[in-house]
């Protein structure tokens, strides 16, 4: 049966068909749907772990126990999981262990544009890279086999366009895999120096074997169509190149991106007069060609930044530019915004009004940095808000403690904010941390987490109390506010900044997009009372604009949250009472 599937859904299908038993991941765009889709197969145990490091260790544990196991994450998630990865390379596996890492060239939804191929090179593990949904499924199945054959974790590298494009996939049946026999083997799995030294030798031998495998594997495909031009490429870049050149040039499409097959590359290059290397982000294939003494054109044309496309390739190689029409006027940009009814909005308005320094974090609330709220000073990575607040306060002392806060979401706090909070209580700053508890992992599209009371399969799960947790981590002052009540929220923020103790404020209100959240009827502006003071525009609600010189609320967007009513001094907004 043929089905149109997202690359991520096809990846999950591969996990299912390969007989994988245990899946543990942390959500992150563009990788999230792999694990969500895998969870729909009843034969597969799947969970959201609190972070990627935990997820990878769970998967490794399952592999050591003899099951086929998987964990998935976005590119920056692999940084968090790098610690287990680099040593899992030494231990190898028992049941096949496959790791998905989804890169985000162009940063559609990420804080950096790192190229995960470097992690595969540095950790010395096999890395495959599919270029469409059909390959996602097939490569994943092969990855499990190769993991077991070569005793190595295997990374399958995705990118946004492969992960989030649908193409047709041929479905097969699941092949059940018995658990492999579990035998104690300290020399393989206890990585203390004496054993690890021996395992490093094994890793280097394995790398040699993998190079030999890459030379002849059908995962690397050569298409000889012309002796003039040859293109070496991989993943989505192959699809772009194929669209531009069709059958007029020769291709070496690398399905294995670590290790690279030296002889295969040399043989291919020898068959063409000129060679282009087309790869997004870093110059990994090109550097290999340089090392092999093959003259190629690559980054001098395409650079290191952002995504490629058929248009970029056509322009840079063929000098072709498209014929286009244009609207002929400036078109205002449309940046993403907090949704109408977003519980973060009122809180960020208070932070903005109080002119605080705000150490931000990763999630929907990063949008608090945008106009008109402009209430964020720094955003680095998961959990960094809490730890960098401590550092900021250590550097600038008591004055900073009175006007600086950290904001972090519930899921991000569980991911890596907890350890940072321990540092605040242990090494003592009078820091004020605000946990934005919207009872879900929002930005990635509503995944459960340890504070929501449900697990990935939708079953009731043990629910971590943020209040109890923060107290257990040594924070004596823990307060809960409803961010829809702006006056109270502002009062509590002021009090906690003033007090000379570390404190946590939990700003609690479920995401307005959650299905169980009941919306109130849309609010209306009384145009006779409206003085066009524009106070209601200061909260940056996408449902409010000025029409015919009066404030106007879009009834299709408004969910009646009432934040704008609190802003209006003239009682001009009403309608849901």
């Amino acid at each position: 049966m043929k089905k149109l599937m997202l690359g991520n859904d096809a990846f999950a299908r591969g996990i299912y068909e390969a007989g994988c038993k245990v899946v543990s991941s942390y959500p992150g765009t563009p990788s999230t749907e792999i694990t969500e889709a895998a969870a729909k197969y009843k034969e597969v145990y799947a969970e959201w772990a609190p972070n990627e490091k935990v997820a990878m260790e769970v998967a490794l544990g399952a592999s050591i126990a003899g099951a086929r196991a998987f964990c998935g994450m976005k590119h920056v998630g692999l940084n968090v999981a790098a610690d287990p990865l680099y040593t899992a390379s030494y231990t190898g596996v028992n049941g096949g262990l496959v790791i998905a890492v989804a890169d985000d060239p162009g940063m559609h939804s990420s804080q950096n544009e790192q190229d995960s191929r470097y992690h595969a090179i540095a950790s010395k593990v096999l890395m495959l890279e599919p270029s469409d949904s059909g390959e996602c499924k097939e490569f994943v199945k092969q990855a499990f086999d190769l993991s077991e054959k070569y005793d190595t974790p295997v990374i399958v590298r995705m990118s946004t366009r492969v992960a989030h494009s649908q193409s047709s996939v041929e479905l097969c049946e699941r092949e059940e895999k018995e658990l492999k026999k579990y035998e104690k083997n300290a020399q393989k799995y206890v990585m203390m120096p004496a054993f690890a030294r021996k395992r490093h030798v094994v890793v280097e031998e394995r790398m040699q074997n993998l190079v030999e495998f890459a030379e002849t594997s059908e995962l690397n495909k050569t298409e000889i169509n012309s002796s003039k031009t040859g293109i070496i490429t991989s993943g989505i870049s192959y699809q772009y190149a194929r669209e531009v050149f069709g059958d007029t040039v020769s291709y070496l499409k690398l399905g294995i991106v670590n290790p690279l097959p030296e002889k295969l590359i040399k043989d291919f290059a020898a068959q063409c007069d000129e060679i282009y290397v087309i790869e997004e982000l870093e110059d990994i294939i090109e550097t290999k060609c340089d090392k092999l003494g093959i003259k190629v054109k690559g980054k001098e044309l395409f650079g290191y930044i952002g995504e490629l496309s058929q248009a970029i390739i056509a322009e840079k190689i063929l000098g072709k530019k498209p014929e286009t029409e244009s609207f002929g006027e400036d078109i205002p940009v449309r940046p993403p915004v907090m949704c109408a009814g977003c519980p973060h909005r009122g809180l960020f308005y208070s932070l903005s009004k109080l002119k605080l320094n705000v150490m931000g974090d990763i999630g929907c609330y990063t949008l608090g940095a945008s106009a008109p709220l402009n209430a964020m000073d720094a955003t680095i990575c998961m959990g960094a808000s809490v730890s960098s607040l401590h550092g900021f306060n250590k550097a600038r002392g008591k004055d900073a403690e009175k006007n600086t806060v950290a904001v972090i979401g519930d899921s991000t706090f569980m991911h890596s904010g907890m350890t940072s909070l321990v540092n605040i209580s242990y090494n003592s700053t009078n820091s004020t941390v605000i946990i934005l508890d919207n009872s879900i992992t929002g930005m990635t599209g509503h995944q459960q987490n340890p504070t929501t009371g449900y697990n990935l399969k939708g079953d009731v799960a043990s629910k971590v109390s943020l209040e109890d947790l923060c107290k257990a981590l040594g924070i004596k002052r823990v307060r809960v506010v409803d961010p829809y009540d702006m006056a109270e929220t502002e009062k509590v923020i002021k009090e906690e900044l003033a007090v000379e103790k570390a404190s946590v404020i939990i700003s609690r209100r479920p995401c307005a997009l959650l299905k169980y959240v009941k919306h109130k009827p849309a609010l209306k502006v009384n145009t006779e009372k409206c003085t066009t003071c524009k106070s209601c525009l200061k909260i940056g609600c996408p449902a409010i604009s000025i029409k015919n010189s009066k404030a106007c609320i879009d009834h299709t967007q408004c969910v009646g949250c009432g934040i704008c009513q609190e802003m209006c001094k003239f009682d001009a907004i009403g309608g849901n009472k």
């Binding site: 749907e33 649908q166 248009a311």
Partner: protein, 190 residues
């Protein structure tokens, strides 16, 4: 046949993902090779979003670049103007006449252009403007503007209605199916 390219553009949250999935299903049932490229994550929060649908004998790149789209379906006026450079010469533009002001306009940092549809007409682009929101509300839910627009598109693509209905059945939860079929018909009978 050569590859055909359809872009679905709008504001995050307007339902462009569902529209592209319906269309993708229709094209697959018609026996085409199909690729649909979506946007997830941050842009989905009220940003400018674009979905690419390509079909033909064999599709390689899932993305559509400037000057390549045979049809652009826009859920909002300003987004129609924004993506015009992606339209092929002689391509069609189907636009819902809804206006959603972006934040820079709301805050007064930028101006929403006036008479967008007339201006696009004046460039000489084939444009169909639809009050999809009112039609969707007539069908029972403002959120069904996406399906109204699929109804309009179906009149350009000439596939059997049963194929569209089957795709709706596959992509829409059963309790909303009748409402969506109604929305689709309102688009067809424009």
């Amino acid at each position: 046949m050569s590859v055909k390219s359809i872009m679905i553009v709008g504001v995050g949250g307007q339902g462009s993902l569902l529209a592209s999935r319906i269309l993708g299903n229709v094209l697959l049932s018609e026996g085409f090779d199909v690729k649909v490229s979506e946007v997830h994550g941050m842009s989905q929060r009220g940003g400018s979003v674009v979905t690419y649908v390509k079909y033909g004998e064999k599709v390689y790149s899932p993305v559509i670049e400037k000057g390549e789209a045979d049809v652009i379906i826009s859920f909002e006026q300003l987004e129609a103007a924004r993506w015009i450079p992606y339209l092929k010469k002689g391509g069609h533009l189907i636009v819902s006449d809804q206006v959603i002001e972006p934040m820079p306009v709301i805050t007064g940092a930028a101006k929403y252009p006036e008479n967008i549809i007339d201006k696009i007409n004046n460039i000489g682009i084939d444009i169909i403007s639809v009050d999809a929101l009112t039609l969707a509300e007539k069908a029972g839910n403002a959120k069904a503007s996406n399906v109204v627009l699929m109804g309009v598109l179906s009149t350009k693509l000439k596939f059997d209605k049963e194929v569209w209905y089957k795709a709706l059945e596959e992509c829409v939860p059963e309790k909303f199916l009748d409402m969506n079929k109604k929305a689709f018909e309102l688009g067809v009978n424009l």
